[in-house]
């Protein structure tokens, strides 16, 4: 059994970018069980088991302590664990997978450009329509803490599994919180981002679970691997003290 487990995204651009990042550090990934398998390994690090998981599963597996290391979007990590401290350590931002989690409203709402405007509209909406304004999102945690900071209380969250940007037009929500890279999808759906509505500037992160089973062998393998991936920085040393004794 391998000493250290590392999960990387199993598909899409995140996967390609991960492979490129490893390759740049001189580490190549070998997929073990067929081209579409979900296990892989590093030729030069037999102690490390590489698992291919969905980006969301990587976040929840890190939180649960099922894996030692993982690469996934910071948005998913922060949504999964609103308080990262003591549960996860963000080892290194990887410079790809950039995306913003934003608050967006209809462009027809010409009177709304800030969170303060949205606060007014939420309160007026609750009075006029006798129900709370709905915010569609898959980022319920991030939305709650951001709206709380903006002192907005008169709203409710409607969980959205996909195509969140369509919710205002479909009439299933009035406002959305969603991820955007260029803003094109939002614009195509007649939406705009609020001036102060950027909740998180996210990118792919290499993260460590603090609740995984950190055996002596896992620690050793982790230090060696991180040393190879980024020889210039003592990445392991920065969080070794946080690992459970």
């Amino acid at each position: 059994m391998a000493a250290l487990s590392l999960a990387i995204p199993s598909k899409g651009r995140l996967k390609d970018n991960c492979n490129a990042w490893f390759a740049a550090a001189g580490v190549t990934i070998e997929q073990t069980v067929g081209a579409r398998g979900y296990r892989a390994s590093f030729a030069s690090f037999p102690d490390v088991e590489v698992m291919l998981l969905s980006a969301g599963e990587i976040a929840s597996s890190l939180l649960a302590g099922d894996i030692h290391l993982g690469i996934t979007g910071e948005d998913l990590l922060r949504e999964e664990a609103p308080e990262l401290e003591g549960r996860m350590h963000l080892i290194k931002p990887l410079g790809f997978g950039f995306a913003d989690v934003v608050v967006a409203v209809s462009q027809a709402w010409i009177d709304v450009s800030t969170m303060a405007d949205l606060d007014d509209v939420c309160a007026a909406y609750a009075q006029t329509h006798r129900r709370r304004l709905r915010v569609a999102t898959k980022y319920a945690q991030l939305t709650r803490s951001f709206f709380a900071q903006a002192r907005i209380t008169d709203y409710r969250i409607v969980p959205s599994a996909g195509a969140t940007e369509g919710a205002p037009a479909a009439g299933t929500a009035e406002v959305i919180v969603d991820i955007t890279t260029t803003g094109a999808t939002l614009r195509d759906n007649g939406l705009k981002v609020l001036d102060d509505g950027v909740i998180l500037k996210s990118q792919a992160q290499l993260a460590a679970s603090l609740s995984a089973d950190w055996t002596v062998q896992a620690r050793g393998a982790c230090e060696t691997l991180l040393g190879k991936l980024d020889p210039a920085n003592p990445l392991y040393g920065r969080f070794a003290a946080q690992l459970p004794a």
Binding site: D120, R144, Y155, G171
Partner: protein, 376 residues
């Protein structure tokens, strides 16, 4: 208290005995006991209370797909029934039962606890209603054998009236009222008002605003009417021009919001501050003094009554007088009861005209623990 309390025989007997004493007291004042279902349609809580309460409400889906909630309080189901049944007013209703609230980030606090309380609906004399409920809350603790407690009081109406006396656009008044109890935030709003740039980002004419909307005809209206958007856009253009608050007034209000202390001293300080800026809130201050007189007549030591200016209970439906009663259990101070006025609730639940409402609830397990620990 354990996360999943198990009530043994003696604990249950003590709680039941206490509940009987409370319900008898309430009945003696004309309050008839009612019991809403534990499992309620989710939307009655989720549409009426904001996200703060929603995140503490346990919701579930039944096998047919209906969204249900375990009641996070009894006030909303009781008020809803009074509206639906077209209850004769004033109505006096008491209750004793379990409520369920998720405790975010505190896995060791119980998510269910008993509440006993009263609701007084539709009594037009607000001052009499405040006095009745406040007296009942104090008597209720005494009936339970808890003699030693202190009070915290506040009044959202006092600050509503203060804000209404300022020459500010209506939206700004609404915003200040909505947030006044959040210590720190109102101060920053006031500061902003003094230093706002006043530059209008939107055109001030209806025709220009309609043209702007026309150019965005493909975008969804997203739940609001065209008229709602136009009216607010006009208001906003208008308010940007008018946005200004005298620096002295802004400072005085900030100072006023900072007042917290023994109630009589605090009220005297408020009177002094209001005099310096020439604002008259005598009716609201008299109402607060009447409440203190009520407490005095009940034999409550007024040095144990604190008035906190920005205190408005962190529940989104209170509209006026608010109060909390505190005692000590063996671990330290605990809030054992709380209540206040919520005059907009009945309309939110569908009443055709405004219905005044005031009530209070006791955390009966905490009352018991405080009594057993020997009071405050």
């Amino acid at each position: 208290m354990a996360a999943f309390p198990y009530y043994g025989t003696s604990a249950m007997e003590a709680l039941n005995g206490q509940a009987t004493a409370l319900l008898n007291l309430f009945a003696g004042h004309g309050y008839a006991r009612e019991e809403p279902a534990v499992l309620q349609p989710a939307e009655i809580f989720l549409n009426r209370s904001g996200e703060e309460i929603r995140r503490r409400t346990f919701t579930l889906t039944d096998p047919s797909g209906r969204d249900l909630a375990l009641r996070p309080d009894l006030t909303i189901p009781i008020c809803r029934e009074a509206v639906l049944a077209g209850r004769a007013l004033p109505a006096r209703i008491s209750y004793n039962g379990l409520v369920f609230r998720h405790q975010p980030g505190e896995p060791n606090r119980p998510a269910q606890f008993f509440q006993a309380g009263v609701e007084l609906l539709g009594l037009t004399d607000a001052r009499a209603g405040d006095a009745e409920i406040l007296s009942l809350a104090v008597e209720a603790l005494r009936v339970c054998g808890l003699k030693d407690f202190s009070l915290r009081i506040g009044d959202l109406a006092l600050f509503g009236a203060l804000v209404d006396s300022l020459s500010l656009p209506p939206q700004w008044r609404a915003r200040l009222k909505r947030h006044f109890w959040r210590a720190g935030y109102v101060e920053s709003l006031l500061h902003w008002l003094g230093h706002g740039d006043g530059a209008a980002k939107l055109p001030g004419s209806r025709a220009d605003i309609e043209a702007l909307l026309e150019a965005r005809a493909d975008a969804p209206l997203a739940g609001r009417t065209r008229e709602e958007i136009i009216v607010r856009a006009l208001d906003r253009a208008d308010e940007a021009a008018k946005l200004h608050l005298d620096g002295k007034v802004a400072d005085a209000i900030a100072a006023l919001l900072d007042i917290s202390g023994p109630a009589e001293e605090a009220l005297a300080k408020i009177r002094g501050l209001l005099k310096t800026i020439g604002i008259n809130l005598d009716p609201q201050l008299a109402a607060m003094e009447a409440r203190l007189a009520t407490l005095k007549s009940l034999g409550v030591d007024l040095s144990r009554v604190r008035f906190t200016a920005h205190f408005g209970r962190n529940m989104e439906y209170y509209t006026g007088f608010v109060f909390e009663l505190w005692a000590h259990d063996k671990e330290g101070p605990v809030q054992v009861a709380g209540g206040g006025r919520y005059d907009t609730m009945m309309e939110m639940l569908g009443a055709k005209k405004p219905v005044s409402a005031v009530g209070c609830a006791l955390r009966t397990e905490r009352v018991l623990a405080a009594r057993q620990a020997g009071g405050a």
